[in-house]
């Protein structure tokens, strides 16, 4: 049935007492149970899907950034890494538009429009 993304903050499986943010993709099976398809470390907020790519805002240590996650293969989530904006430009996916093929355009308020092309 349905697929559902959930972002979780929990212990990692490989490191004791280490916590990380995860993106987990679940599916509601016909037997009425959730089944985990895959999970991947992923940090961000204001997440939004553009086709099979999830983009979320985050802070990369220097300023505003975007985190990307490719879920075209639900069984194997793939992190696209971090798109650095290098400063305090708020690229909010909420009001952005586009597709993974064409690129995503983000409104930046007074700073105009930012086009983000997704890695091939």
């Amino acid at each position: 049935m349905d697929k559902l993304f959930a972002f979780d903050w929990r212990k990692t499986s490989d490191e004791k007492n280490q916590y990380a943010n995860f993106a987990a993709l679940w599916r509601l099976e016909d037997d009425g149970k959730f089944r985990l398809l895959d999970e991947e470390k992923f940090d961000g907020y204001n997440a939004r899907a553009f086709g099979d790519v999830l983009l979320a805002q985050m802070y990369d240590g220097y300023g505003s950034a975007l985190a990307g996650l490719d879920f075209s293969n639900p069984a194997e989530l793939e992190s696209l890494g971090i798109y650095s904006l290098g400063g305090w430009l708020w690229a909010d996916p909420t009001h952005a538009d586009g597709t993974p093929a064409d690129g995503i355009w983000f409104p930046l308020g007074n700073y105009g429009v930012l086009k983000v092309e997704l890695p091939k």
């Binding site: 972002f7 105009g112 429009v113």
Partner: protein
């Protein structure tokens, strides 16, 4: 012999050779015997008719200037010259003239003569700009090209950064909203934007380099892209661009460690002061150090980072922070201010960084401690081996609170061991404002109730004296020396004011005139940034930006006064207020180019004809930046909703998707508040609400407007239909959303979500990957502190089956009492789903009649929900509004729900929510957090599964 000593020796040798060449032989040439302060003694052999004393000039290409010529006895002897200001001996030379020869200095002048650039028609042919000695370089018509460089002994020019630079017909703008913009202004009436380097919000320091290159000193790394590496902890960047092709191209980037504080371009070397953590201090002390780094930009495409020095100003028992920098061609001076707990006051330490090596190498030298603190760059100067500093101290320990200003002179001929020469205190009990060094003079403005203008004679550094004190109303924040005149800008009774002084006789200065140029409430950037104060003495013109006419919640500020560039006639003894070039957004800079005024604000470049200065005519207004709040990608176009920067206007604009900053078409939506917008089926739907201004009748509900635009013929924006109604009132437009339960039915959902709530990031992804469901990772709603007892959600229904004739159908309202919140609304199959949660008992649910405008009548067709005690107090409940029913909207629910709505599947038959986990009795487990999948049969919600979820 260290490097500096070696250089001095070379210079001295060169001077001797020069003197020898002019005189025929070394033994028979005049020689400088001594140069002590302002007195230069020269020995003259027999046979010379006259002797010429020259000094090195700071102006490039004209290295020697004649100081004076004196006759010599035929039998030889000694002659004496009196300098106007102190200069080191190495910067002086003497030339002898024997009988019958041409004066030797006749052969030392300029040999290259280039035609003027720009052809400024405001300046009469042959006119030359005055240059105040040691003050503003007004040549070229721009008063802010270089400021108080001092260091007359060097050949390298000292340049401060700015947000713009006019170079011939090229104008470089470091636009904080876009980045580096290059414009062709050959025809000022038709300026053309040649290209933009996208680098917004990165800084305001631009330098022009050689060969068409421009350097940006950015306060952040130059990174934009996926998985960019190589920042190495750098906080700033020097970005060098080649602009020869018009559009700027980055040719090099250099990382800058630490927070960028200040910089100067001296010759071809860039010096940058940054703030870095003090690695030797306690990590919790947050103590910082200042570093100075030298960059060699002589080959702009291949810049070199030379070296960095760290200032080690003592910081024990003090809180130290950056004060100001100033540079000469020999020294980069850094003032750090320390608050000293032991005396309860602030003191400055000025550190000398030797930058005399033109390749950018920096060498840390000595430092001097001041009795007060240095407020800005105009309070430091190095010239001829003497450092002068103006500091201010509060003297808090004195119960009478007597503050004072102090001038200190130091001999830094040995920069490792500066020696105090003399000092002067003035302005007892007053606050220091604008100051300026001008040759041997120092202008100081202090203020308590009036503005004394002090003129200090600093010709004897060991004993500076007050030449005069002139009391003037108000105070000046910036002073521009013009030889015998002094122009200042400041404040008088809260109004921006330009003043003109006669300072020909420093012992008897006179205020010639004071000219307020604004009303109260307006302000000018010239009051805190001298680069915004343009003085063009040859054109008899002063220009300064004025920001006025702003509207705040408390009412209007100088509402009848437009923002713009104020023109002031500058006469020998007068100032005359002329017209103002209107410039909507805060203007920042202005200059004259090719007979026109170019005025720059961050959003536009404005060109004006000021032939009639009382009535300047705007001949062009080139938009450089604007605001984009929403964007949609449609075909090869982008549809923006935004407006002007800083303005309340709303504009739809269309660009190509390859040139998003190049507007092809636009449509003005006016100033009404933008409530919501959406694109569906080739149409753009925009809901706006009339703005109610302070003081207007708030009992009359503001009307709302739904506007529909046909986007199928882009870039044309075709207005399809408009509906204006006073039956829709939106109290909180920021939380409004458009949902579509079905084609032709637009529902505007607005109301209070019940406060700020961090909600988890959860959403549904269908098989195709498209997200369906509520937007789930954001703040929800607006604070309820002003009205905490109600949470309301409205659903305004519009029939847009015909885009040309939209119809307002009616409003449904869900209102609860008590603390609570709503989920986002989700639409599916003709229905709109929403959940609510209300804490405590005694709540009320009601469908309320439309109350905002009684004349409009009741618009709710649905009977109110019975105002009974809420059976769902402390629980989640689902409401469903069904718009598909032929008889009108039906409101189902409330239905007990396990949590807050996330999204729907299977046409609303599967519902995802987030909330508590429940035990076998159906009681929520405190502290639990799960995602629920439930089935909805139209009457009840049946829990299917629960997924534990921490919900970060």
């Amino acid at each position: 012999m260290n490097l500096r000593t070696f250089q001095i020796a070379i210079t001295a040798i060169a001077s001797l050779v020069c003197a020898s060449a002019s005189a025929g032989s070394a033994a028979s040439a005049p020689e400088i015997v001594s140069a002590r302060w302002r007195t230069v003694r020269v020995s003259v052999p027999a046979g010379f008719e006259s002797v010429t004393l020259q000094r090195k000039s700071a102006r490039p290409g004209n290295p020697w200037e004649t100081v004076g010529v004196t006759r010599a006895a035929a039998s030889g002897g000694e002659v004496t010259f009196k300098l106007k200001k102190v200069m080191p001996r190495r910067m002086l030379r003497v030339l002898g003239r024997k009988s019958g020869q041409l004066p030797a200095n006749f052969l030392t002048g300029r040999t290259e003569f280039q035609p003027p650039s720009g052809g400024d028609s405001l300046f009469p042919p042959g006119a030359t700009a005055q240059r105040a000695e040691g003050g503003l370089d007004l040549a070229g018509g721009v008063a802010n090209a270089a400021v108080d460089t001092g260091g007359a002994g060097g050949e390298r020019s000292v340049v401060e950064s700015d947000i713009w630079k006019l170079s011939g017909d090229r104008l470089f703008l470091y636009n904080q909203y876009r980045g580096l913009q290059v414009l062709d202004v050959e025809d000022p009436a038709n300026p053309a934007l040649l290209g933009t380097l996208p680098f917004p919000a990165s800084g305001d320091a631009l330098y022009e380099l050689t060969g068409g290159h421009v350097a940006l000193l950015a306060s952040r790394p130059y990174v934009l892209g996926w998985n960019v590496n190589g920042r190495n902890g750098a906080e700033g960047t020097v970005v060098i661009c080649d602009t020869n092709a018009g559009a700027p191209v980055v040719v090099a980037t250099l990382p800058v460690s630490g927070e960028v504080l200040e910089s100067r371009l001296v010759g071809s070397a860039l010096y940058v002061a940054t703030r870095v953590p003090d690695t030797e201090a306690d990590v919790w002390s947050y103590r910082t150090n200042v570093q100075v780094t030298g960059f060699d930009l002589s080959d702009p495409a291949n810049p070199v980072v030379r070296n960095t020095v760290t200032l080690t100003t003592p910081k024990a028992d003090s809180y130290t922070y950056f004060g100001a920098v100033q540079a000469s061609s020999s020294f980069f001076m850094v003032a750090e201010n320390s608050y000293r707990w032991d005396i309860g006051d602030t003191r400055s330490t000025v550190t000398l960084v030797d930058i005399s090596n033109p390749d950018g190498t920096v060498v840390l030298r000595g430092r001097v401690a001041l009795e007060g603190f240095v407020q800005d760059k105009f309070k430091l100067r190095e010239e001829g081996g003497m450092l002068s500093a103006i500091s201010f101290y509060q003297a808090w320990w004195n119960s009478t609170r007597r503050s004072q200003t102090r001038l200190d002179n130091f001999d830094i001929s040995n920069p490792d061991r500066p020696q105090a020469l003399g000092h002067l205190e003035l302005g007892l009990g007053e606050q220091v404002h604008g100051t300026r060094f001008d040759g041997d003079r120092v202008y100081v403005v202090t203020f308590f109730r009036i503005d004394p203008l002090w003129i200090v004679d600093n010709s004897e550094p060991a004993a500076p004296v007050i030449a005069s004190e002139l009391e003037v109303p108000g105070f000046s924040t910036f002073l521009a020396p013009l030889g015998d005149r002094l122009v200042t800008v400041g404040l008088l009774d809260g109004r921006v004011t330009v003043s003109l002084f006669d300072v020909a006789d420093p012992e008897n200065p006179a205020l010639l005139t004071q000219l307020p140029v604004t009303e109260r409430g307006a302000w000018s950037e010239a009051n805190w940034d001298e680069k915004a104060f343009t003085v063009l003495p040859d054109a008899g013109l002063i220009m300064l930006p004025v920001s006025a006419g702003w509207r705040g919640w408390w009412g209007d500020i100088s509402p009848d006064e437009p923002s713009g560039i104020q023109l002031v006639d500058l006469g020998a003894d007068s100032l005359t207020l002329r017209g103002r070039i209107p410039h909507g957004f805060a203007p920042r800079r202005a200059t004259v180019h090719a007979g026109s005024v170019l005025a720059f604000s961050q959003d536009s470049l404005l060109t004006a004809d000021i032939t009639d200065r009382d009535a300047p005519v705007v001949t062009n207004d080139l938009q450089l930046a604007w605001r984009t709040d929403r964007v949609w990608h449609i075909g090869g176009h982008l549809v923006h909703i935004g407006g002007s920067i800083g303005g309340g206007d709303k504009v739809i604009s269309v660009s190509t998707d390859t040139e998003p900053d190049d507007t092809i078409s636009s449509l003005d939506l006016g100033g009404d508040t933008l409530v919501a917008s959406d694109v569906r089926g080739g149409y753009l739907y925009v809901v706006q609400q009339e703005v109610v201004r302070p003081g207007e009748d708030t009992l009359v509900a503001p009307s709302a407007t739904l506007r529909i635009f046909d986007l199928t013929s882009l870039p044309r924006i075709i207005s399809a239909g408009t509906l204006r109604t006073d039956r829709v009132t939106i109290s909180d437009p920021w939380s409004s959303r458009i949902v579509w339960p079905q084609d032709g039915t637009l529902v505007l959902v607005h109301g209070d979500n019940g406060g700020y709530w961090f909600r988890p990031v959860i959403f549904l992804a269908d098989a195709g990957g498209a997200a369906v469901g509520a937007r789930l990772a954001d703040y929800a709603g607006i604070p309820r502190w002003y009205h905490p007892q109600e949470v309301v959600k409205h659903f305004e229904q519009f029939d847009v089956t015909s885009a040309e004739t939209p119809v307002f159908v009616g409003r449904e309202t869900i209102k609860t009492k008590g603390w609570g919140r709503f989920s986002d609304a989700v639409a599916s199959q003709g229905k709109v789903f929403i959940t609510r949660w209300v804490s405590g008992a005694g709540q009320e649910l009601a469908g309320l009649p439309f109350l905002a405008n009684a004349d409009a009548g009741a618009v709710d067709d649905v009977p109110p929900i019975a105002p009974e005690e809420d059976p769902f107090a402390g629980r989640y409940a689902l409401h469903v509004l069904d718009y598909s029913a032929p008889g009108g909207v039906t409101l189902a629910g409330p239905v007990a729900a396990p949590g807050e709505l996330i999204g729907l599947r299977n046409d609303g038959r599967v519902i995802y929510t987030r909330g508590f986990d429940y035990d076998w009795r159906g009681r929520g487990l405190a502290g639990s957090s799960v995602i629920h999948a439930s089935a909805f049969d139209g009457e009840k919600i049946h829990l299917i599964a629960a997924l534990p979820f921490n919900g970060s």
